[in-house]
Subunit: 416 residues, 2 copies
């Protein structure tokens, strides 16, 4: 280490990066896709630019100010006055697990309103942390009737009720206000997965009395996956403090995370700076557009898509009265190869739509217009490509009917 | 939803983003910083550009190919033939916790070689998951003598030994090969935190017989924080399969993660696409530069910094024989205000250096030249700024001595 070392390091030290390097792995150059599945959707261009912003340190005053903005913007988008509003540094399910892991202790009773795959996920996580889980199962394509949740709350003391706001596996939107009110009456905590719904339809944490709510970045918020914004109220915070012992997880321990994401600034993990930038920009765009305008845009773009699909003679899956306004499940017509259609859409048109999970796999497609993609031009593009692919495979629909219906719907004109 | 709806949505649907929005939160515009603390360091410019790459779907063939590249590149950088090499979608500690949570069951004996804050973190995580932890404490600034670990292995059957390769809290580099050999003899699994060392100095997972090893992206790999590349061998995989029950965590369950990060492609969380892009680009740059050249660059740049600090009359902290070659701990001179110096470096020069943890807080600064910043120009810039700030506060050093010594050292010339 002493300066008398005889080696001349000037070669390796002075601009080492200008040497012509060997290249064994190709340049990053993914194809251009229109992402109309269940997420990620194409992010807002401004969010992509934010990702490329140079880094600063995690305790730099300029960064703690950015963290404060993220917390404030989270409150606006969740519609809450909660003190606690911050993201977990991971994909959406890290936020779901953070809440369950931090609140639940072995033996606690949990009731899950389960109408799709992400209800199953709530059950799995809660059971792993030792909870006594009752799953109220509703047929895929329907909601969980709030009465059934209330009945379970009446039947036995319950620590926590978990339910998904909009389940991407079934395309259903679950009413929450009645369940929220019941949880207060029976002193249970209501935890809601709003990963799909946040930024895409009404979500009113305080009015609906949701005690904890977790969002996703890569769907209707128009960002990349990898951060899970969440919020929780004082009832949840009291439960965190009332634990007999800390949860097994350190990485997802809300008490440690809230000490970092607050004026205390207690060191925990190193925040993923680029993803914090992206989350801030995505939330800022939501605030600029306005919640009502954004929900309207999602409703209108997806309704135009639905009008087009129906004009093509396709059938939707699930209870229309509770259809989620950012994703549409369409039945695969008789005799059509589900996977082959998706493959051709991707290969010939660069369009991604999604297969379905579990019992619906092979039977329906899932088409989402979310975030930046909740635009009429995306609906029309998907409809045109789908008509082409289905026609080539023997499905008969009036030529151009889907696109015409979507355009006409958006203009508010009547369609036959 | 029917097409006869009377509302004209064309206004909201057609290019809604071109409307002039309200702006309640400022544009993202963080100051330019030279990050010479313990991480994040300034990322490679190519990595920042990779972050801004448009997204594709997680099961898009183009994306699964990118995942395959990340796994292959991980093997090269960890120097391993392990089948399992993939990142956890979270900050570095999510990788540490994934390994401990997935391997350990309540009551398992764990021995931690503990010579700094991140040894404490290993103890904390293992205890949270119910392990019976023995911490072998070494004084901060020294290594854990391998004999002490061997003695603990002899004393009682041990499931797992955890130790940090280079602890950023003390700037010490821990020898591992002897501990690796002993773990095979006594049938314990060796888990190593290489968050700081990976990409910055020799790390040879297979030759040193490390059973699991976790890296960090935001230090010597030159990326943003938020992904934890790791690798583990068949001994660890056997332990995962031998569990009596799954671990509490779903998000950090290695069996689920490896089923996603492999040819099985089983759906788990949605990978953070942008961060996967960044990780791939960072690892690709390491491969292009070559491991030996990269380690040499870190050694040389940091040795130049050390030569400069010593020429200024400053004293280093810790055992010089085991100094980590990417971070340097410097004692705060008598009568100098530690925090004020850091504040002035940040405010007047845009340079970040780091405070110290725990017992060293207020007594030393931590200066890191890592990843893209392991360059002579960074060493010289820090030295010049530090001289200015210290002089202004009454510390006397020969004018220009630090920079001259660093430059001379890099050229291989003798310095008085």
């Amino acid at each position: 280490m002493r300066a008398s070392a005889p080696v001349d390091h000037s070669e390796v030290l002075v601009r080492p990066m200008t040497q012509q390097p060997r290249r064994r792995f190709a340049d990053l150059n993914p194809p251009t896709r229109l992402l109309c599945g269940s997420g990620p959707s194409n992010p807002e261009p401004r969010v992509l630019r934010a990702l490329a912003t140079p880094l600063i340190g995690q305790f730099d005053p300029a960064f703690t100010e950015i963290m404060d903005d993220v917390m404030a913007l989270g409150r606006l988008v969740f519609q809450t006055e909660n003190r606690r509003s911050f993201p977990v540094s991971g994909s959406s399910r890290s936020g779901l697990e953070a809440v369950l892991a931090s609140v639940l202790e072995p033996g606690d009773r949990v009731v899950v309103g389960n109408y799709g795959r992400f209800g199953d996920l709530f059950c799995e996580i809660a059971r792993r942390y030792g909870a006594d889980v009752t799953s109220i199962d509703a047929e895929w394509g329907t909601i969980v009737e709030p009465d059934r949740v209330v009945a379970e709350l009446k039947a036995r003391p319950t620590k926590l009720v978990a339910i998904v706001h909009a389940d991407t596996s079934t395309g259903i939107l679950q009413p929450l206000a009645e369940i929220g009110a019941a949880c207060r009456v029976y002193d249970a905590l209501l935890v809601v997965d709003a990963v799909l719904s946040i930024g895409g339809c009404e979500l009113d944490v305080d009015r609906w009395q949701l005690d904890a709510c977790i969002g996703g970045l890569q769907k209707c918020l128009g960002g990349p996956s990898g951060m899970a914004p969440l919020t929780y109220n004082e009832r949840v915070e009291a439960a965190l403090h009332a634990r007999r012992s800390p949860p097994p997880t350190n990485y997802l321990d809300l008490l440690q995370l809230q000490a970092y994401w607050s004026a205390d600034r207690l060191n925990h993990h190193t925040a993923p700076t680029s993803m914090v930038y992206a989350l801030r920009e995505a939330l800022r765009i939501v605030d600029e557009e306005g919640l009502d305008a954004r929900w309207m845009r999602h409703r209108a773009a997806n309704a135009a898509l639905v009008a087009g699909l129906e004009a093509m003679g396709l059938e939707l899956f699930g209870d229309r009265a509770h259809k989620a306004p950012m994703i549409t499940l369409v039945r695969v017509p008789e005799g059509i190869d589900e996977a082959a259609v998706r493959g051709q859409l991707l290969d010939d048109f660069g369009i991604e739509i999604m297969a379905a999970f579990g019992p619906l796999n092979g039977l329906v497609w899932r088409i989402g217009l979310m975030g930046y993609n909740a635009r009429l031009e995306c609906a029309v593009t998907v409809l045109g490509a789908l008509e082409h692919v289905l026609s080539a495979r023997g499905y008969r629909a009036p030529s151009g009917a889907g696109q015409q219906a979507a355009l006409a719907h958006a203009k508010g004109a009547a369609v036959a």
